[in-house]
Subunit: 197 residues, 2 copies
DNA sequence: ACCTGAACACCGTTCAAGT
DNA sequence: ACCTGAACACCGTTCAAGT
Protein backbone atom coordinates (compact mmCIF):
# COMPACT_ATOMS: atom_id res chain seq x y z
CA UNK A 1 0.00 0.00 0.00
CA UNK A 2 3.03 2.33 -0.12
CA UNK A 3 4.85 3.99 2.72
CA UNK A 4 5.54 7.54 3.87
CA UNK A 5 9.16 8.15 2.94
CA UNK A 6 9.54 11.93 2.95
CA UNK A 7 7.86 15.18 3.87
CA UNK A 8 7.99 17.99 1.27
CA UNK A 9 6.48 21.41 2.09
CA UNK A 10 4.73 19.69 4.96
CA UNK A 11 2.94 17.31 2.52
CA UNK A 12 3.43 13.61 3.06
CA UNK A 13 4.77 11.95 -0.04
CA UNK A 14 4.06 8.26 -0.59
CA UNK A 15 6.66 6.38 -2.57
CA UNK A 16 5.96 2.98 -4.04
CA UNK A 17 8.68 0.87 -5.53
CA UNK A 18 8.45 0.35 -9.28
CA UNK A 19 8.56 -3.44 -9.07
CA UNK A 20 5.69 -3.36 -6.59
CA UNK A 21 3.52 -1.40 -9.03
CA UNK A 22 4.41 -3.77 -11.84
CA UNK A 23 3.76 -6.89 -9.75
CA UNK A 24 0.41 -5.67 -8.46
CA UNK A 25 -0.78 -4.96 -11.98
CA UNK A 26 0.54 -8.29 -13.24
CA UNK A 27 -1.36 -10.09 -10.47
CA UNK A 28 -4.61 -8.31 -11.31
CA UNK A 29 -4.25 -9.02 -15.03
CA UNK A 30 -3.40 -12.67 -14.41
CA UNK A 31 -6.25 -13.04 -11.92
CA UNK A 32 -8.73 -11.50 -14.36
CA UNK A 33 -7.97 -14.04 -17.05
CA UNK A 34 -7.61 -17.06 -14.78
CA UNK A 35 -10.79 -16.28 -12.84
CA UNK A 36 -12.72 -15.63 -16.05
CA UNK A 37 -11.71 -19.02 -17.38
CA UNK A 38 -11.72 -21.24 -14.30
CA UNK A 39 -14.03 -19.44 -11.86
CA UNK A 40 -13.67 -18.80 -8.16
CA UNK A 41 -12.00 -22.14 -7.49
CA UNK A 42 -8.94 -21.16 -9.51
CA UNK A 43 -5.90 -21.46 -7.22
CA UNK A 44 -3.79 -18.57 -6.05
CA UNK A 45 -0.75 -20.59 -7.14
CA UNK A 46 -1.96 -20.59 -10.74
CA UNK A 47 -2.56 -16.85 -10.67
CA UNK A 48 0.87 -16.22 -9.11
CA UNK A 49 2.53 -18.42 -11.74
CA UNK A 50 0.80 -16.65 -14.60
CA UNK A 51 1.80 -13.29 -13.08
CA UNK A 52 5.40 -14.45 -12.66
CA UNK A 53 5.53 -13.81 -8.91
CA UNK A 54 5.74 -15.95 -5.77
CA UNK A 55 2.52 -16.90 -4.00
CA UNK A 56 3.45 -14.70 -1.06
CA UNK A 57 3.52 -11.63 -3.26
CA UNK A 58 -0.17 -12.00 -4.06
CA UNK A 59 -0.92 -11.76 -0.34
CA UNK A 60 1.29 -8.69 0.06
CA UNK A 61 -0.98 -6.81 -2.36
CA UNK A 62 -4.30 -8.35 -1.39
CA UNK A 63 -5.23 -9.38 2.13
CA UNK A 64 -6.97 -12.52 0.90
CA UNK A 65 -7.99 -14.32 -2.24
CA UNK A 66 -11.47 -12.85 -1.78
CA UNK A 67 -10.03 -9.35 -1.84
CA UNK A 68 -8.27 -10.08 -5.12
CA UNK A 69 -11.48 -11.51 -6.57
CA UNK A 70 -13.35 -8.41 -5.43
CA UNK A 71 -10.84 -6.10 -7.10
CA UNK A 72 -11.20 -7.94 -10.41
CA UNK A 73 -14.98 -8.31 -10.32
CA UNK A 74 -15.48 -4.69 -9.25
CA UNK A 75 -14.00 -3.69 -12.61
CA UNK A 76 -16.44 -5.94 -14.47
CA UNK A 77 -19.43 -4.54 -12.60
CA UNK A 78 -18.29 -0.97 -13.24
CA UNK A 79 -18.05 -1.68 -16.96
CA UNK A 80 -21.55 -3.14 -16.99
CA UNK A 81 -22.91 -0.16 -15.06
CA UNK A 82 -21.31 2.20 -17.58
CA UNK A 83 -22.97 0.31 -20.44
CA UNK A 84 -26.29 0.58 -18.63
CA UNK A 85 -25.93 4.33 -18.23
CA UNK A 86 -25.33 4.70 -21.95
CA UNK A 87 -28.48 2.68 -22.66
CA UNK A 88 -30.61 5.09 -20.63
CA UNK A 89 -30.38 7.51 -23.57
CA UNK A 90 -31.87 5.03 -26.07
CA UNK A 91 -35.23 5.80 -27.70
CA UNK A 92 -36.98 2.48 -26.94
CA UNK A 93 -37.28 1.91 -23.17
CA UNK A 94 -38.19 -1.78 -23.42
CA UNK A 95 -35.39 -2.38 -25.90
CA UNK A 96 -32.94 -0.64 -23.54
CA UNK A 97 -33.97 -2.89 -20.65
CA UNK A 98 -33.69 -5.94 -22.88
CA UNK A 99 -30.23 -4.90 -24.11
CA UNK A 100 -29.02 -4.36 -20.56
CA UNK A 101 -30.17 -7.81 -19.53
CA UNK A 102 -28.45 -9.29 -22.59
CA UNK A 103 -25.22 -7.47 -21.70
CA UNK A 104 -25.31 -8.85 -18.16
CA UNK A 105 -25.99 -12.33 -19.44
CA UNK A 106 -23.15 -12.17 -21.95
CA UNK A 107 -20.84 -11.10 -19.16
CA UNK A 108 -21.84 -14.18 -17.19
CA UNK A 109 -21.18 -16.30 -20.28
CA UNK A 110 -17.78 -14.70 -20.80
CA UNK A 111 -16.60 -14.66 -17.18
CA UNK A 112 -16.96 -17.73 -14.99
CA UNK A 113 -16.10 -15.92 -11.74
CA UNK A 114 -18.66 -13.18 -12.35
CA UNK A 115 -21.17 -15.86 -13.24
CA UNK A 116 -20.64 -17.69 -9.96
CA UNK A 117 -20.85 -14.51 -7.93
CA UNK A 118 -23.96 -13.29 -9.75
CA UNK A 119 -25.59 -16.62 -9.03
CA UNK A 120 -24.87 -17.04 -5.34
CA UNK A 121 -25.49 -13.41 -4.42
CA UNK A 122 -22.37 -13.76 -2.33
CA UNK A 123 -22.15 -10.21 -1.12
CA UNK A 124 -19.73 -11.79 1.33
CA UNK A 125 -16.88 -10.48 -0.76
CA UNK A 126 -16.17 -7.08 0.80
CA UNK A 127 -16.10 -3.98 -1.35
CA UNK A 128 -18.49 -5.45 -3.89
CA UNK A 129 -21.67 -4.34 -2.14
CA UNK A 130 -21.24 -0.71 -3.19
CA UNK A 131 -20.54 -1.56 -6.83
CA UNK A 132 -23.63 -3.69 -6.87
CA UNK A 133 -25.69 -0.84 -5.50
CA UNK A 134 -24.59 1.46 -8.29
CA UNK A 135 -25.56 -1.21 -10.82
CA UNK A 136 -28.93 -1.66 -9.13
CA UNK A 137 -29.60 2.06 -9.31
CA UNK A 138 -29.07 2.25 -13.07
CA UNK A 139 -31.08 -0.93 -13.50
CA UNK A 140 -33.89 0.66 -11.51
CA UNK A 141 -33.95 3.63 -13.88
CA UNK A 142 -34.09 1.34 -16.91
CA UNK A 143 -36.97 -0.54 -15.32
CA UNK A 144 -38.85 2.65 -14.43
CA UNK A 145 -38.56 3.98 -17.97
CA UNK A 146 -39.85 0.70 -19.37
CA UNK A 147 -42.86 0.79 -17.06
CA UNK A 148 -43.62 4.43 -17.83
CA UNK A 149 -43.47 3.69 -21.54
CA UNK A 150 -46.32 1.26 -20.93
CA UNK A 151 -44.47 -1.73 -22.39
CA UNK A 152 -43.99 -3.38 -18.99
CA UNK A 153 -46.88 -4.13 -16.67
CA UNK A 154 -45.06 -6.01 -13.86
CA UNK A 155 -43.70 -4.25 -10.80
CA UNK A 156 -39.92 -4.42 -10.97
CA UNK A 157 -37.12 -3.01 -8.83
CA UNK A 158 -33.44 -2.58 -9.68
CA UNK A 159 -32.65 -5.65 -7.61
CA UNK A 160 -35.20 -7.62 -9.60
CA UNK A 161 -33.54 -6.61 -12.86
CA UNK A 162 -30.27 -8.10 -11.59
CA UNK A 163 -32.22 -11.20 -10.61
CA UNK A 164 -33.55 -11.49 -14.17
CA UNK A 165 -29.99 -11.44 -15.54
CA UNK A 166 -29.07 -14.34 -13.32
CA UNK A 167 -32.33 -16.19 -13.84
CA UNK A 168 -32.04 -16.21 -17.63
CA UNK A 169 -28.44 -17.38 -17.76
CA UNK A 170 -28.65 -19.92 -14.94
CA UNK A 171 -31.83 -21.33 -16.43
CA UNK A 172 -30.08 -21.85 -19.75
CA UNK A 173 -27.06 -23.41 -18.03
CA UNK A 174 -29.34 -25.86 -16.23
CA UNK A 175 -30.55 -27.17 -19.60
CA UNK A 176 -26.95 -28.09 -20.35
CA UNK A 177 -26.79 -25.55 -23.18
CA UNK A 178 -25.86 -22.05 -21.92
CA UNK A 179 -26.32 -20.68 -25.43
CA UNK A 180 -30.06 -21.15 -25.03
CA UNK A 181 -30.23 -18.04 -22.81
CA UNK A 182 -32.20 -15.95 -25.34
CA UNK A 183 -35.11 -18.34 -24.90
CA UNK A 184 -35.21 -17.77 -21.14
CA UNK A 185 -34.68 -14.05 -21.54
CA UNK A 186 -37.59 -13.80 -23.96
CA UNK A 187 -39.85 -15.71 -21.54
CA UNK A 188 -38.92 -13.35 -18.72
CA UNK A 189 -39.36 -10.20 -20.79
CA UNK A 190 -42.68 -11.49 -22.07
CA UNK A 191 -43.61 -12.10 -18.44
CA UNK A 192 -42.68 -8.52 -17.57
CA UNK A 193 -44.98 -7.27 -20.31
CA UNK A 194 -48.01 -9.34 -19.39
CA UNK A 195 -47.86 -10.36 -15.73
CA UNK A 196 -49.34 -8.02 -13.14
CA UNK A 197 -47.19 -8.87 -10.14
CA UNK B 1 -19.75 -54.02 -1.64
CA UNK B 2 -19.97 -57.40 0.05
CA UNK B 3 -18.03 -60.51 -0.74
CA UNK B 4 -18.77 -64.07 -1.86
CA UNK B 5 -18.50 -66.18 1.26
CA UNK B 6 -20.34 -69.37 0.45
CA UNK B 7 -21.99 -71.37 -2.30
CA UNK B 8 -25.38 -72.89 -1.53
CA UNK B 9 -27.16 -75.08 -4.13
CA UNK B 10 -24.69 -73.62 -6.65
CA UNK B 11 -25.98 -70.10 -5.89
CA UNK B 12 -23.42 -67.55 -4.76
CA UNK B 13 -24.38 -66.00 -1.48
CA UNK B 14 -23.10 -62.53 -0.63
CA UNK B 15 -22.63 -61.82 3.03
CA UNK B 16 -22.17 -58.29 4.35
CA UNK B 17 -21.14 -57.62 7.90
CA UNK B 18 -23.78 -56.01 10.06
CA UNK B 19 -21.56 -53.10 11.13
CA UNK B 20 -20.83 -52.37 7.47
CA UNK B 21 -24.54 -52.05 6.70
CA UNK B 22 -25.07 -49.83 9.71
CA UNK B 23 -22.08 -47.62 8.89
CA UNK B 24 -23.04 -47.17 5.27
CA UNK B 25 -26.52 -46.08 6.23
CA UNK B 26 -25.19 -43.77 8.93
CA UNK B 27 -22.87 -42.13 6.39
CA UNK B 28 -25.70 -41.57 3.90
CA UNK B 29 -27.99 -40.10 6.56
CA UNK B 30 -25.25 -37.85 7.91
CA UNK B 31 -24.27 -36.76 4.41
CA UNK B 32 -27.87 -35.95 3.52
CA UNK B 33 -28.27 -33.56 6.40
CA UNK B 34 -24.81 -32.01 6.23
CA UNK B 35 -24.98 -31.51 2.45
CA UNK B 36 -28.47 -30.06 2.68
CA UNK B 37 -27.30 -27.50 5.20
CA UNK B 38 -23.79 -26.64 4.03
CA UNK B 39 -23.79 -27.54 0.35
CA UNK B 40 -21.20 -29.34 -1.75
CA UNK B 41 -18.28 -27.75 0.10
CA UNK B 42 -19.15 -29.58 3.31
CA UNK B 43 -16.12 -31.62 4.34
CA UNK B 44 -15.97 -35.39 4.42
CA UNK B 45 -14.56 -35.08 7.93
CA UNK B 46 -17.74 -33.39 9.14
CA UNK B 47 -19.88 -36.06 7.55
CA UNK B 48 -17.75 -38.85 9.05
CA UNK B 49 -17.91 -37.21 12.50
CA UNK B 50 -21.68 -36.87 12.35
CA UNK B 51 -21.94 -40.51 11.24
CA UNK B 52 -19.64 -41.63 14.05
CA UNK B 53 -17.10 -43.30 11.77
CA UNK B 54 -13.52 -42.61 10.69
CA UNK B 55 -12.90 -40.67 7.50
CA UNK B 56 -11.48 -43.77 5.84
CA UNK B 57 -14.76 -45.62 6.29
CA UNK B 58 -16.55 -43.12 4.09
CA UNK B 59 -14.17 -43.99 1.27
CA UNK B 60 -14.65 -47.70 1.80
CA UNK B 61 -18.35 -47.32 0.97
CA UNK B 62 -18.06 -44.59 -1.66
CA UNK B 63 -15.20 -44.32 -4.14
CA UNK B 64 -15.14 -40.55 -3.81
CA UNK B 65 -16.93 -37.63 -2.21
CA UNK B 66 -18.69 -37.08 -5.54
CA UNK B 67 -20.05 -40.62 -5.43
CA UNK B 68 -21.46 -40.01 -1.97
CA UNK B 69 -23.03 -36.76 -3.12
CA UNK B 70 -24.52 -38.55 -6.13
CA UNK B 71 -26.05 -41.23 -3.91
CA UNK B 72 -27.70 -38.62 -1.71
CA UNK B 73 -28.90 -36.35 -4.51
CA UNK B 74 -30.19 -39.27 -6.56
CA UNK B 75 -32.69 -39.87 -3.77
CA UNK B 76 -33.83 -36.26 -3.86
CA UNK B 77 -34.31 -36.34 -7.63
CA UNK B 78 -36.25 -39.59 -7.42
CA UNK B 79 -38.59 -38.07 -4.86
CA UNK B 80 -39.18 -35.06 -7.07
CA UNK B 81 -39.82 -37.28 -10.09
CA UNK B 82 -42.37 -39.26 -8.08
CA UNK B 83 -44.16 -36.06 -7.11
CA UNK B 84 -44.21 -35.03 -10.77
CA UNK B 85 -45.77 -38.33 -11.81
CA UNK B 86 -48.53 -37.86 -9.28
CA UNK B 87 -49.21 -34.39 -10.66
CA UNK B 88 -49.77 -35.78 -14.17
CA UNK B 89 -53.19 -36.95 -12.97
CA UNK B 90 -54.32 -33.46 -11.93
CA UNK B 91 -57.27 -31.83 -13.74
CA UNK B 92 -55.59 -28.50 -14.56
CA UNK B 93 -52.56 -28.96 -16.81
CA UNK B 94 -51.14 -25.47 -16.30
CA UNK B 95 -51.63 -25.77 -12.55
CA UNK B 96 -49.82 -29.12 -12.57
CA UNK B 97 -46.84 -27.62 -14.41
CA UNK B 98 -46.82 -24.69 -11.99
CA UNK B 99 -46.97 -26.99 -8.96
CA UNK B 100 -44.11 -29.10 -10.28
CA UNK B 101 -41.94 -26.02 -10.75
CA UNK B 102 -42.81 -24.87 -7.23
CA UNK B 103 -41.86 -28.29 -5.84
CA UNK B 104 -38.50 -28.17 -7.58
CA UNK B 105 -37.87 -24.66 -6.33
CA UNK B 106 -38.78 -25.56 -2.76
CA UNK B 107 -36.34 -28.47 -2.96
CA UNK B 108 -33.59 -26.04 -3.97
CA UNK B 109 -34.54 -23.80 -1.05
CA UNK B 110 -34.50 -26.74 1.37
CA UNK B 111 -31.33 -28.44 0.13
CA UNK B 112 -28.18 -26.44 -0.54
CA UNK B 113 -26.35 -29.28 -2.30
CA UNK B 114 -29.25 -29.92 -4.69
CA UNK B 115 -29.47 -26.20 -5.29
CA UNK B 116 -25.81 -25.98 -6.27
CA UNK B 117 -26.03 -29.00 -8.55
CA UNK B 118 -29.25 -27.78 -10.20
CA UNK B 119 -27.56 -24.49 -10.88
CA UNK B 120 -24.28 -25.61 -12.37
CA UNK B 121 -25.74 -28.43 -14.44
CA UNK B 122 -22.78 -30.41 -13.20
CA UNK B 123 -23.62 -33.72 -14.74
CA UNK B 124 -20.02 -34.42 -13.90
CA UNK B 125 -21.22 -36.40 -10.91
CA UNK B 126 -21.58 -39.91 -12.27
CA UNK B 127 -24.82 -41.80 -11.87
CA UNK B 128 -26.89 -38.63 -11.78
CA UNK B 129 -27.36 -38.32 -15.53
CA UNK B 130 -29.91 -41.15 -15.62
CA UNK B 131 -31.94 -39.79 -12.71
CA UNK B 132 -32.03 -36.43 -14.42
CA UNK B 133 -33.29 -38.02 -17.61
CA UNK B 134 -36.19 -39.61 -15.80
CA UNK B 135 -37.06 -36.25 -14.27
CA UNK B 136 -36.86 -34.60 -17.69
CA UNK B 137 -39.21 -37.16 -19.17
CA UNK B 138 -41.95 -36.50 -16.62
CA UNK B 139 -41.37 -32.79 -16.97
CA UNK B 140 -41.78 -33.13 -20.71
CA UNK B 141 -45.17 -34.79 -20.24
CA UNK B 142 -46.30 -32.01 -17.89
CA UNK B 143 -45.20 -29.45 -20.47
CA UNK B 144 -46.93 -31.25 -23.33
CA UNK B 145 -50.22 -31.44 -21.43
CA UNK B 146 -50.02 -27.73 -20.64
CA UNK B 147 -49.47 -26.89 -24.29
CA UNK B 148 -52.28 -29.16 -25.47
CA UNK B 149 -54.64 -27.58 -22.97
CA UNK B 150 -53.98 -24.31 -24.78
CA UNK B 151 -52.77 -22.49 -21.66
CA UNK B 152 -49.16 -22.41 -22.82
CA UNK B 153 -48.12 -20.95 -26.15
CA UNK B 154 -44.30 -21.23 -25.87
CA UNK B 155 -42.39 -24.24 -27.14
CA UNK B 156 -40.99 -26.06 -24.13
CA UNK B 157 -39.03 -29.28 -23.67
CA UNK B 158 -38.51 -31.33 -20.52
CA UNK B 159 -35.01 -29.89 -20.24
CA UNK B 160 -36.46 -26.39 -20.43
CA UNK B 161 -38.82 -27.14 -17.55
CA UNK B 162 -35.82 -28.05 -15.39
CA UNK B 163 -34.19 -24.83 -16.53
CA UNK B 164 -37.24 -22.86 -15.37
CA UNK B 165 -36.93 -24.39 -11.89
CA UNK B 166 -33.37 -23.21 -11.66
CA UNK B 167 -34.04 -19.84 -13.29
CA UNK B 168 -36.78 -18.89 -10.84
CA UNK B 169 -34.88 -19.82 -7.70
CA UNK B 170 -31.48 -18.51 -8.78
CA UNK B 171 -33.08 -15.27 -9.90
CA UNK B 172 -34.64 -14.82 -6.50
CA UNK B 173 -31.35 -15.66 -4.76
CA UNK B 174 -29.57 -13.04 -6.83
CA UNK B 175 -31.89 -10.38 -5.40
CA UNK B 176 -30.60 -11.32 -1.97
CA UNK B 177 -34.02 -12.61 -0.94
CA UNK B 178 -34.56 -16.26 -1.96
CA UNK B 179 -38.12 -16.10 -0.64
CA UNK B 180 -38.98 -13.86 -3.58
CA UNK B 181 -39.04 -16.89 -5.90
CA UNK B 182 -42.81 -16.79 -6.51
CA UNK B 183 -42.32 -13.46 -8.28
CA UNK B 184 -39.83 -14.96 -10.71
CA UNK B 185 -41.90 -18.09 -11.18
CA UNK B 186 -44.98 -16.03 -12.04
CA UNK B 187 -43.00 -14.03 -14.59
CA UNK B 188 -41.76 -17.21 -16.23
CA UNK B 189 -45.16 -18.90 -16.28
CA UNK B 190 -46.70 -15.74 -17.66
CA UNK B 191 -43.99 -15.81 -20.31
CA UNK B 192 -44.87 -19.41 -21.16
CA UNK B 193 -48.49 -18.39 -21.65
CA UNK B 194 -47.86 -15.41 -23.90
CA UNK B 195 -44.48 -15.73 -25.63
CA UNK B 196 -44.32 -17.58 -28.94
CA UNK B 197 -40.78 -18.88 -28.83
C1' DA C 1 9.68 -1.74 1.07
C1' DC C 2 9.08 -5.46 -1.15
C1' DC C 3 9.97 -10.36 -2.75
C1' DT C 4 10.67 -15.18 -1.87
C1' DG C 5 10.05 -19.77 -0.36
C1' DA C 6 9.52 -22.58 3.60
C1' DA C 7 6.01 -23.59 7.02
C1' DC C 8 1.14 -24.27 8.77
C1' DA C 9 -3.65 -25.84 8.99
C1' DC C 10 -7.00 -27.77 6.15
C1' DC C 11 -8.87 -30.54 2.53
C1' DG C 12 -9.87 -35.21 -0.34
C1' DT C 13 -7.87 -39.61 -0.86
C1' DT C 14 -4.88 -43.84 0.05
C1' DC C 15 -3.28 -47.60 2.58
C1' DA C 16 -0.88 -50.41 6.18
C1' DA C 17 -2.11 -52.17 10.45
C1' DG C 18 -5.39 -53.88 13.34
C1' DT C 19 -9.93 -56.84 14.58
C1' DA D 1 -14.38 -58.03 5.53
C1' DC D 2 -14.30 -54.08 7.44
C1' DC D 3 -12.55 -50.21 10.48
C1' DT D 4 -9.06 -47.02 11.91
C1' DG D 5 -5.73 -43.46 11.89
C1' DA D 6 -1.44 -42.11 10.00
C1' DA D 7 0.34 -40.41 5.62
C1' DC D 8 0.17 -37.77 1.11
C1' DA D 9 -0.67 -34.05 -2.18
C1' DC D 10 -3.08 -29.89 -2.50
C1' DC D 11 -5.07 -25.63 -0.98
C1' DG D 12 -5.17 -20.54 1.31
C1' DT D 13 -2.45 -17.98 4.38
C1' DT D 14 1.63 -16.48 7.33
C1' DC D 15 6.14 -15.10 8.15
C1' DA D 16 11.30 -15.17 8.67
C1' DA D 17 15.00 -14.35 5.76
C1' DG D 18 16.85 -12.08 2.08
C1' DT D 19 17.61 -7.71 -1.28
Amino acid sequence: MGHVSASVHGEEVVVVRADAVRNREAVVVAAASVLAGSGLNASVAEIADRAGVAKGTVFRHFASKDDLVAAVVAGLIDDLAAQAEAMLAGPDALQALHDFLAAGIELQARDQAFCELASTAELVVPGLAERRERLEEVAELLALRARESGAVRAQISGRDVIGLMTAAYQGACATGDPQRWPYFLSLLVSGLRHADT
